[in-house]
């Protein structure tokens, strides 16, 4: 299909999405996103559920860590540190995703025949 007609067409009709999906730059974006999001999501879910599972089924976290502050509280505070850290890591990584998106947009603009 030719990509010469612009304004009069409804916007989405001018993009061949299947072609974009098959382009190497889009495939790379999906790969990099998956490589980040999947392992980190599994990590934070495991880290998060470890706390209620440990407190419900054992007493190991009731031992003191610093003074009266038990390991349960240390682990609880660690959930906050974990959340903020993963938040910033993603935010940094996503800046690279944005650059890749910009490239995909350029390629789609040039006609999608990549």
């Amino acid at each position: 299909m030719e990509m010469k007609q612009f304004s009069s067409e409804p916007p989405s009709a001018s993009i061949n999405y299947s072609e974009v999906v098959q382009s190497s730059s889009f495939q790379q974006l999906m790969r990099e996103k998956r490589r980040f999001i999947l392992p980190f999501s599994l990590f934070f879910l495991a880290f998060y559920f470890a706390l209620p599972i440990l407190t419900s089924y054992s007493k190991v976290l009731n031992t003191p860590a610093i003074g009266s502050v038990s390991w349960a509280w240390v682990f609880a505070f660690a959930q906050f540190i974990m959340t903020w850290t993963l938040c910033m890591l993603y935010s940094k990584r996503a800046a690279r995703f944005d650059e890749m998106v910009e490239q995909i947009r350029q390629e789609a603009k040039e006609g999608g025949n990549v």
């Binding site: 989405s12 999906v21 996103k33 349960a72 609880a76 959930q79 903020w84």
Partner: protein
């Protein structure tokens, strides 16, 4: 008696009405009404998300729970925060890229089907109304305690104010009320936390040492297990907290108020910092109340512990701090219910009226009228339900809202953006099974049934033993969506999925920018 508190309430009312007045001048089109014309910046929306999310239940409820049960109350703080990683990693950006005004828009971007949109809208309305009844009943009780105003009038005052914000100021007024409230809440909580911390000589260890002897629970106050005795119920609650947030419609619509996915992402990052700092401070509120107000006085004021934070403020800073914290709690309620009215009203007016009844052909003017009347209708319905529920313990409605959001909305959002084979039959069965299973499980749970009279709404042995249905209803929602897809003969459209994949991940819609 609480003259100062009353004046500060009036200040809050005046301030929010002023915001609404200015917002009303910028609320002429549907885009302005539903999304503040997508013109909010990342940090504005970050504060607004925080203001939309940190309800009176988190502020007063968690502070009270920590004061009375120690560690277990803090589970809520953790779950409410970590949930934002699900929002950030998986939901916020695709939602912004695919949707327009409502969550149903996102699902409809893939399945252009009236039934799918209708069921998605039904879920949005159910979740928002459950959540709102819990907020309004809590608000009525709270204002009665703080100001001595009768429950009925208290609910009416909150109900009328939220209606005025939304009807006249739409999303712009709602957003700014939420931003102002979030700033006030953070300031109030910070001041109290600082005073509490100073009283413990700025030593965490000293604080923990002293609360150990301050409550009737003694040493076990610091250990988990005072409130949550059933391990499965605890895990079920945690599941609903972490997965439900990313399916709450009043949170999801906030992502349409910014211009693109990168800005939506930034707003979640800001929100995560603000919300996290707030929930860390709930420890100071809870421990402070346990140490300086005392168990007996907290329970005497309200058995659930909801007065712990205001009483702590009074103990630390006298009448002024009490009045200030009460006013902050009031602002908190207003900001949250306004967001809820808007999300339910947009499902009525945009999804049901414009897309289903009018086939998407309603004019701007008709849509605006529908949106305003839907807001009034939602508000009246919620006020009536809240008046009817005055004597009931409706705190469980918040966990019901989270459970429905996690069981009915999240599976559909995930499968829409990630699963190529997913189809309309799967979307409809998934949403309905998620909704109905949560409702039925709660209806036969200890929230509703208790063998002794007066403990729950009805007297009898609960059939389902868990107070939180998530551990059963969330898997059911996913399984139903998958089975519904696999068992139906309907063919999915690969081209459509390619389009969704590209749009969700890149936001590319046209070549104009």
């Amino acid at each position: 008696m609480h003259g100062l508190a009353f004046s500060l309430f009036l200040v809050i009312v005046a301030l929010t009405l002023l915001i609404t007045y200015f917002a009303s001048k910028r609320t002429k089109t549907t885009s302005e009404f539903y999304t503040a014309d997508s013109a909010l910046t990342g940090w504005q929306n970050g504060w607004a998300i925080a203001g939309d999310y940190m309800s009176a239940a988190s502020f007063l409820g968690i502070a009270g729970m920590i004061a009375l049960t120690g560690f277990d109350g803090f589970f809520y703080s953790i779950g409410f925060l970590v949930a934002y990683l699900v929002v950030l990693y998986i939901v916020a950006e695709p939602l912004r890229n695919l949707g327009k005004y409502t969550m149903a828009d996102m699902i409809a971007a893939r399945f252009d089907d009236k039934k799918v949109r209708g069921v998605a809208a039904l879920n949005t309305i159910s979740i928002s109304i459950f959540y709102m009844i819990a907020q309004l009943v809590g608000a009525g009780g709270l204002i009665k305690l703080l100001l001595g105003i009768d429950y009925v009038y208290a609910v009416l005052i909150v109900g009328i104010l939220m209606t005025v914000y939304v009807v006249f100021g739409g999303m712009t007024a709602t957003s700014w009320v939420q931003i102002v409230k979030a700033v006030l809440l953070m300031a109030g909580t910070f001041i109290i936390s600082l005073i509490v911390f100073a009283k413990f000589d700025f030593s965490i260890v000293k604080m923990f040492n002293e609360v150990k002897t301050a409550t009737p629970l003694g040493e076990s106050f610091l250990n988990p297990g005072n409130k949550f005795k059933n391990p499965l119920d605890t895990i079920s609650l945690n599941l609903a907290l972490i997965l439900g947030t990313a399916g709450l419609p009043h949170i999801l619509i906030r992502f349409f108020t910014v211009k693109d996915a990168p800005t939506a992402r930034k707003s979640v990052v800001y929100a995560t910092w603000i919300i996290g700092l707030f929930y860390v401070m709930t420890i100071f509120l809870g421990f402070g109340a346990a140490a300086f107000v005392g168990y007996d006085k907290i329970v005497a004021a309200n058995p659930a512990g909801n007065m712990a934070a205001p009483l702590l403020a009074e103990a630390l800073g006298g009448d002024f701090l009490f009045a200030f914290v009460s006013a902050v709690a009031f602002a908190t309620i207003l900001a949250v219910v306004a967001g809820l009215v808007l999300s339910a009203a947009s499902a009525f007016a945009h999804d049901f009226y414009n897309h289903i009844v009018r086939q998407g052909q309603a004019t701007e003017k008709e849509q605006m009228l529908a949106a305003r009347w839907a807001s009034v209708g939602v508000a009246i319905l919620s006020i009536l339900l809240a008046l009817f529920a005055q004597k009931m313990n409706v705190a469980f409605l918040v966990s019901l809202a989270f459970a429905v959001a996690a069981s009915a909305n999240l599976p559909i959002i995930l499968l829409t953006i990630f699963w190529k084979r997913f189809n309309t039959a799967g979307a409809i069965t998934g949403m309905l099974v998620g909704l109905i299973s949560s409702l039925v499980l709660v209806a036969i749970s200890p929230n509703v049934w208790a063998p002794e009279p007066g403990v729950a709404i009805l007297v009898g042995e609960p059939i389902f033993k868990l107070a939180n249905p998530g551990i059963v209803s969330i898997p059911l929602g996913f399984i139903a969506a998958v089975l519904g897809t696999l068992l139906s003969s309907k063919k999915q459209d690969d081209k459509k999925f390619d389009e969704i994949l590209v749009k969700a991940n890149t936001g590319i819609r046209d070549f104009t920018h």
